[in-house]
Symmetry: C2
Subunit: 612 residues, 2 copies
Amino acid sequence: MSVWDGHMGWLGALDAGITDRDMTTEEIARAEAESCFGKDGVVLEKDGSLGEGYRILAEGNAWRVRGGKTGLLYGVYRLVRHRLAGEKLPEGDERPQYGLRMIDCWDNMDGTVERGYSGRSIWFEGGRLTYRPERIRMLGRLLASVGVNCLCINNVNVHEPAQGLIDEMLPDLKAMAGLLRPYGVRLMVSVDFAMPMRCGMSTADPLDEEVAAWWKDRAEKVYAAVPDLAGFLVKADSEHRPGPFTYGRTHADGANMLARALRPFGGTLVWRAFVYNCMQDWRDTRTDRPKAAYETYQPLDGQFDDNVILQVKHGPFDFQVREPLSPLLLSMEHTHLAVEFQLAQEYTGHQIDLYYMPPMWDEVFSAMGKDRPVAIAAVSNLGRDDCWTGDPLALANLFAYGRYAWDPMCGAEETARIFIRMTWGFEKGDEDILARALMGSRGIYEKYCAPLGICWMVSPNGHYGPSPDGYEYQLWGTYHRADRDAVGIDRTSSGTGYLDQYPEEFQRIYRDPEKCPDEYLLFFHRRRYDSVMRDGRTLIQRIYDDHFEGAALAEKMAEDVKKLPFPERDRGEICRRLDLQVKDAAEWRDVINTFFRRLSGAEDERGRKIWR
Amino acid sequence: MSVWDGHMGWLGALDAGITDRDMTTEEIARAEAESCFGKDGVVLEKDGSLGEGYRILAEGNAWRVRGGKTGLLYGVYRLVRHRLAGEKLPEGDERPQYGLRMIDCWDNMDGTVERGYSGRSIWFEGGRLTYRPERIRMLGRLLASVGVNCLCINNVNVHEPAQGLIDEMLPDLKAMAGLLRPYGVRLMVSVDFAMPMRCGMSTADPLDEEVAAWWKDRAEKVYAAVPDLAGFLVKADSEHRPGPFTYGRTHADGANMLARALRPFGGTLVWRAFVYNCMQDWRDTRTDRPKAAYETYQPLDGQFDDNVILQVKHGPFDFQVREPLSPLLLSMEHTHLAVEFQLAQEYTGHQIDLYYMPPMWDEVFSAMGKDRPVAIAAVSNLGRDDCWTGDPLALANLFAYGRYAWDPMCGAEETARIFIRMTWGFEKGDEDILARALMGSRGIYEKYCAPLGICWMVSPNGHYGPSPDGYEYQLWGTYHRADRDAVGIDRTSSGTGYLDQYPEEFQRIYRDPEKCPDEYLLFFHRRRYDSVMRDGRTLIQRIYDDHFEGAALAEKMAEDVKKLPFPERDRGEICRRLDLQVKDAAEWRDVINTFFRRLSGAEDERGRKIWR
């Protein structure tokens, strides 16, 4: 029996023993190939010119994989997916769309995971880096098998003692990097912009020469321990984090100073473009949080160094169930960008509610184009739970993320089907049922939570379950301003002017409330409850209908999925969560409908139960 | 210099050195008398027949205090208050109204204080009983000086390791009891009803003979260490605490079993009558939380043993700014009752907002009569902060509580004035200003928070600041059900029937919405915003007016109080809090007014600013 006795994710058909010991990348590739194709089923041929890429060639009854550094391994996994799940093979050379394909872990060194719904941290506990090596290797396999090549291991909110990861804990960082290196996964570390002050300096001013020298020296020490560290990730001047604003400097000043420290070692400085006023006065209707990132960063376009990547959340708010594309992603022509997703289901059901993300990503890439960013990042949904992601169905998002990071045009449904075949190997009928459930899941969740792009009707702090006014009189810039007549925010030029941040072709889509797609209606416009939607229904009736439908669809979906032949270890977790989702969807339905009924006074035209 | 260098509360005129060492009660009485009246100013004469009581006699230029056990000490403090603050002396013998005058501390052994706004616990830290002895003695003095005779030292929610207070930590309990004993303060301990199971038994069923025997044995051990322990306090079957309901037993079964264990040692079992469904469905309009205590306990009247005291909160909810008297306090003819107040300003401003409680207590005693309860309890507002209560002005509530526990008819304003003279010795004009501020403070707070008896429009969990819908879709049984037309709950017999729990003379006061006192209107009735109040204003206009007035009055009050000549150490804390109160009162005003304007659509008749 192998050392790794835990969940294999979607790699259950392979030999678990591969995680028992340290191996080189080529040894791993060979072993995975052998476990799937037998001893001589695959020939490996190294070709450095391919980089992370590969070419797969049929040679009689065997396969030849030609590949560069880690390309061999990626090629083997591609073959494995082809064999086990019928994934199509590429014609010619295959290379990833993005060179940097990151998972950002919000793991704290006390073992908690901020916004984590899969148990405690896999590698932190009690202020230390500590783990089972075979668990880390297994994680490396899972990531490599879908092409993820970077793991930022600590929370962007750098709490003590995580600063020590690039200081006294460097030997531990080095050891963990060594475990993941054969899988092509490089570590990244979130750093504290004010760290020089932790180390006795009187300032962290990015234009102070001693500060810059301090960071250069620090980088030298870090790279001596981990020569292939991907770089640093920084959240600065955001939600009370320190940053360049303290010193009257721009974010370009801050990012470039750090980037120059990393440059000699080939490191990348990833700078999170998540700045807004988290102390807004709710009475202030001129400030509009979605405008903040563009206002802060757009004027800096062209000022960032080459090895800086500005990491931008896909929407202008914060990973809500429905947001338009961030206008910042359309405007930074002369800046390297990463688009940031969130696999952790913070606002999308806590890995209790089923929420398959690729349909949302399809919208993002279709609006943005795949070539705008040079990198891609996603907040981790990983944890110490048996199946890695709490809900075994949430593994689908991790799997899909890797596939999208490699090829954003890979397709949501095909990805779902390959995941299902890899993970559970269902027969066609069952695969159809689960693929349908996954593909429909986001639409269902959207129907029963905050209506039509309004966002934020979620319980404060926890972010699970309905609280229609929970963010209404708060400091977070998150308002719907529902009154007895109308709801929503006018973000056109006659309102907050947020829409003006978009190119004209986007403005055309959203500007006119009569033409604006329904799902964005209340994001861009303030509408009366009795206003008539394009399909002839009033807004209030549409809200009621959506919520009744959403809860009913959740019930139907749960019923379908619970019948599927999952193995016991997954079945219990899946069914327990689906039952909770059904209950919680009904709660959403009732709270939201009652909230709007109390305001509007409108009855449901179809006479369904809305509580008083 | 004496060992005690901290705040002396209202005893600043006395000699701090009295806290330096262990003294007998009589030694303390003598030393306090001497420090105030000089060496031969007071003659002490022991008279056991007076118990806690005393008689004060003028003898030429000196005073004679005749008193029983602790009566001598109480008599001396009475004389001190007479000398320093002009408090009238009693004619003839003076005895306390209530034999048990408790402070219930919600201190946890990790050093936190549940709903504490005065810093960490004075005696718990890191899971142990640990303190500066002189601080405990100083506390004993403060309590003795106003006649408090019992301190329940741990949270009624008994969290590990507090169970150990009556087990492995008995030596520590004994030591602390020894420090307070000379001040006439007996300890009480909150116990965990399920404690036998912590100690290896398979049940905590109160009718199980082995359980009863276990508690008898436990009591014997406890009283061997602390022979004058006042008894045990229990919160059972409440907010997820264990209790007799687990075993299908009544609360009389549970309380009597414990009381019988305490009886041989003269101990009292205080049983908290705070049971309600804290998992209510907000859709359920038939269940009404204020009905719960009466429904649970009234049928048990007469079934409790003689040494059981049922501790009943003064209102049927939970220490809101405005509640009617709990009907349970009017109905338990054959049960020993304690009335419970809360000095900690959980729902009344966190010791930031000024909130002097005696005017509220006057209402309670005027409705209930002083002779119904046999005991009195108050949740502590004590903590490790310099001035004991966070806000130096909140000391007034601690002082007043002792005075009311001794004599509930002592008068709110006179109490305020004596407190002011004792503590700061202001001249008459300044005393008038502060007395007026204290006396008006509750009315001001009430005006700017939830309107007209509605309760609960407070931020969930924290309980500070406005959140109009914060408790609306929750499990706590706390609903206002405001919609676009009306607000409030009909609690008459045509509604939830809560009013039926009262004697007829109370029903007459509240039954008719046209006659119900304004301050209880929305507690007992559901009213349309356009309904006309007795003074001719509409309900919605009254809500607006109250909130504008409340915030304006808070501003005026702060301005007045900030001018007073407090000593520096108090001044900073007081002013900081008053500034916060002014800011937060404006926030209450705006949030509540906006909430009701969004619902009602009504404009303010006087054209003042209500945000949209």
